[in-house]
Symmetry: C2
């Protein structure tokens, strides 16, 4: 228990890749460097096993990271959430590039500093985003090198037992869950296209396609999406998805495949792989002034299929924006999902309290138990991300996932952090609680209290309509900063409704500037933390809904917004230095716990979960 | 008194400009639109009378704003500081475009929405920054229009009595004030050029040239700069400045014009107008890999004189960065300047208290008196910007400047806001105080208290080394936001040392993202406000120095920073609801007032200014 993860041995793989970089079977000219980005052809954050190329080559399996292999070097860039994990998963053929630290070079600067003159740097154009391609190509060419699109993926070329692309069962979501038919979503989308004089829109993000068509799949673990592209015209709808996947009569009826109600709503299914060819054909028939929308985060390959004169790259697509502002049905569903989720999590904590003293509960068994309790709730589909169940020092690995070789016992002496969530048919959850089953140290309580102050500062913030989320990030840090502490991740991300647990275009992070302004109906996480390498991790995360509020005044009639917590799980009082809270913070906490008791308590009674109810009532007592 | 400013009548001017836009004497092809930017060829914020082209055409004389004239329309974009002023100064031939409001189109979007197909939009390439040109040209061409560089300025063509370009007396600043010789500054600059493999650096910002050569002039009111360009090579120094301006033996010796100590420090003076030709000549002789640095805010004309292959545009030049971090001599000078400035301002307030009841003090006479008191202080050079002296409703015009037709009497019934500053040989000041000489209303006190809370939240903030200033902006707004209030300007700007009162690359504003991280030695303003149109304005501004601080912990050894106020002028207690301050805020205020009393009081005693000292002691009593 508690031994470090062992790194992947990569000597032989790197030898093979470097050979492929020179082998005319794969490339036209030898490459001096090859870039292995993190994502798939849809720039998904979570990816299917067949797309885990960066993990294959270097061993690091976090959600964000780019590997670059040259003739002499191999380096991997990732951010603060993953420094510890990456250093444990990679062998010493690899250099870890810690993004966000002053001394860490950018990928471009590093390449320029080590490449021989006139080097060729290769990348698979299907898995690099168009905006990233542009930045990289520009930097390299200004230093006399060139970025080369390599059609065959060189990792795939050396990956002998690479898994097949998944093709799971699809299901249709009714109005009861979506609040809006796909037909109405198409009409609204076309309205925006007409308004902006755009003829076509190429949809590449998997969650946008799932949301638009009110369909869900399970091609990617934790994300209820399926591999597809869509091209929406003013009169036509192309869905690039093997027709074999929609043979079920329910799906055919949902998509009106056998006779649409209106001709402009006819969905044409075409093979997934034919998107490039079909897009080229569409572009060949465009009038000189016609415009095609595509996300600037779409793959370089598909973006370049659109001639520059017709191409209109956009940072956030109209679907991304529409999806982010939840409609009343979605909001109701998200609320229900969070109530069920809270019941399950409270049951877990009540169970842990009983079981831990026996000495048999581990990070893995606790995570399994959490999944078991969640799975008993109505409309449970699966987890929304791998449960982070971490004890003591493992908690300082921000995106830790317990493995048999790292698994620690839960005990009465160490801090326990659990960050977990589920997919229900009516919504997606994501919650983190940090607890102690014995007596926390003064230092642990001190740090927890700073994190709580930051959490409340964001959750209770009142701000003008149209404020961007990144402007709230410092509120979450002020108490930590005052004591010289900080955390190296953002404070919040958008959350989908029975969709991806991370979604744009809103968020709360010092790293972004181009986030879209917050609007009532958006749903985000609020999750400050503090991590002491080798000792413990603290994070406190609620999912919150942006709601209108009416403060005393209304400057320039702009209106004000605040957050309503959807997550209703008690915050452990034992971890708090209550004397260090302001009266406003104490009031917030008591009010929050009252809501937990009332809302979750009522659902527990309905479900007859007596033990959890006792635990809930005890954990939600007001503080003085 | 108190009547609104009257707008400029622009019917005839617009007719003449529209004629010029079609007249082949000035242009090769007729223009459908003409852009009149705010700045001069150096992208200065404050400009000489000969460069006030936007004011000439539309009447609005604020520091920021862009006018665009088409065949049918005339529109002017400016930001929240100037909405009221611009609406009063422009006649109804002009549409005011309120930047930052959701419904306001960008210049590009507006042009695209109203221009006929294939339009030509003209602009003088010398007064549009290269980055703005790029954005505008791209947007227009994507909509089928084109941006055209018009060599002759069309405003100059119709401006009959346009003033000549100023050529004021220059003076050299000794080491006593600068702390670093220009020769050492050149050596440091060349070090950075060598490090980044850059052969040449084209300096276009007037304050960078003044700072680099330790020279000052007064070509532009309030800014001690002079019209010049410089090109620095690894071995050569070209200063584009008529040699007649440096005939004074002191200046010749300062610049070592008659025999430099080292050959690589020889300064070659060339005519101001020859910069384009000389830069072209330099570029013609460059090796294939040689790079030339130029600010991406330099004029489009000069930027394009550098072939693209050699051009290396940078957001902040090494001089801009070096100038922002003040050395110990500059910090000492800034402290001295602020002490002298505080003596003068305290004298003003003591004088106002006596004089106002007589009913004869006006906005203009109060501003004049402030200048008189400042001018009695050692090494006074002039004001650092036009004094904003505003009573009651005039205070809500954020960059108000009293004119005879708007001049109001100071009274015992209205709020008085004075934002003023000076240039001393040892430093530049900028301070705002809002006071009431009778009894402020509850609402005025409430708003003032929110603004004070915001001011303190920034001033007392502790944050990690390397934090960007924009991350602190929301701290200044939180108390206002809580009550539904806000202000439509940034919270802070960099301040030069006997240089421009506004300088980059640091600042505290929600509008920027590309500001440079804060470092110890940087100097900024902290100036939240609240403005009630037609009633009053409140602003509370100190100049603050970024200093290291040592909180309890030191996460990842990053170190922490905070601010030390350089401005030491009492904050009027009468305006504060002290019961609404937290204990921490009360402590800050008492500590600040103690520093004012000790530091400024000592200087007043030294100068024998008894009445002001009595006032100071009374105004700095601690609150309970």
């Amino acid at each position: 228990m508690g031994t470090a993860m062992s790194p992947k041995i990569t000597v032989e793989l790197l030898r093979q890749l470097r050979q492929a970089m020179k082998n005319s079977k794969h490339i036209t000219e030898p490459l001096q460097a090859y870039i292995i980005p993190s994502g798939d052809a849809h720039q998904s954050e979570y990816i299917a096993p067949c797309d885990c190329r960066r993990e294959f080559i270097c061993g690091f399996n976090g959600s964000a990271g780019t590997a670059i292999v040259t003739e002499q070097h191999a380096a991997m860039w990732t951010d603060g959430r993953y420094f510890l994990q990456a250093s444990q998963q990679m062998d010493n053929n690899w250099t870890l590039m810690k993004m966000g630290l002053k001394e860490t070079p950018s990928q471009e600067d590093w390449l320029i500093s080590i490449l021989p003159e006139n080097s060729k740097v290769g990348v698979d154009p299907w898995i690099i985003a168009a905006d990233q391609w542009k930045t990289m190509a520009k930097a390299l060419s200004s230093a006399g090198h060139s970025l080369v699109a390599v059609q065959e993926n060189l990792i795939d070329a050396i990956w002998e037992d690479r898994p097949a692309r998944p093709s799971t069962k699809l299901s249709a979501l009714g109005l009861k869950y979506t609040g809006l038919s796909w037909q109405d979503k198409i009409v609204q989308l076309r309205g925006k296209m007409v308004e902006r004089k755009v003829s076509w829109f190429v949809v590449t993000a998997l969650d946008e396609i799932a949301w638009l068509f009110n369909l869900r799949g399970s091609d990617i673990e934790y994300n209820p999406v399926f591999f597809a592209y869509a091209i929406i015209g003013i009169n036509g709808i192309w869905l690039f998805l093997e027709e074999t996947r929609v043979m079920d009569p329910v799906l055919r009826e949902h998509l009106e495949l056998d006779g649409p109600s209106k001709p402009e709503l006819k969905v044409q299914c075409l093979p997934y792989e034919s998107v490039y060819k079909e897009l080229q054909a569409i572009c060949a028939s465009l009038g000189p002034k016609e415009k095609v929308w595509i996300s600037d985060k779409a793959s370089c390959a598909l973006t370049q299929a659109i001639p520059k004169i017709h191409r209109s790259p956009i940072p956030y697509t109209p679907l991304c924006l529409a999806k982010a502002v939840k409609n009343p049905t979605e909001i109701q569903g998200m609320k229900m999902a969070h109530i069920k989720d809270a019941v399950a999590l409270c049951e877990l904590f009540a169970w842990l309290e009983k079981e831990i003293p026996k000495g048999t509960v581990t990070e893995i068994s606790a995570a399994d138990k959490a999944e078991e309790f969640r799975s008993q709730q109505k409309d449970f589909v699966g987890l929304s991300f791998p449960t982070i169940s971490s004890v003591g020092p493992n908690g300082s690995i921000i995106h830790y996932r317990p493995l048999p070789e790292t698994n620690r016992n839960l005990s009465l002496t160490e801090v326990y952090l659990i960050d977990s969530g589920a997919q229900f048919l009516d919504g997606t959850t994501d919650v983190t609680r940090t607890v102690h089953f014995g007596t926390p140290s003064d230092y642990e309580k001190e740090c927890f209290t700073y994190v709580l102050k930051g959490h409340i500062a964001v959750s209770a913030a009142v701000f003008p309509n149209g404020t961007k989320g990144h402007l709230l990030d410092s509120f979450a840090r002020a108490a930590l900063w005052d004591s010289g502490l900080d955390y190296l991740h953002g404070t919040g991300h958008g959350v989908g409704c029975f969709l991806n647990v991370h979604e744009g275009p809103c968020g709360i992070s010092y790293k972004t500037f181009a986030d879209e302004p917050l609007e009532a109906g958006m749903i985000l996480s609020d999750e400050p933390g503090y991590y002491e390498d080798g000792s413990f991790g603290i994070r406190l995360e609620n999912v919150v809904l942006v709601v209108p509020t009416k403060p005393k005044y209304n400057y320039r009639n702009r209106g004000s917004l605040t957050f309503e917590p959807l997550t209703l799980v008690p915050i452990q009082l034992k971890m708090i230095n209550t004397e260090n809270l302001t009266q406003k913070e104490r009031d917030w906490l008591n009010d929050y716990h009252r809501k937990c008791r009332e809302t979750i308590g009522a659902e527990m009674e309905r479900q007859g979960r007596k033990e959890a109810l006792d635990w809930l009532i005890r954990e939600t007592q007001p503080i003085a």
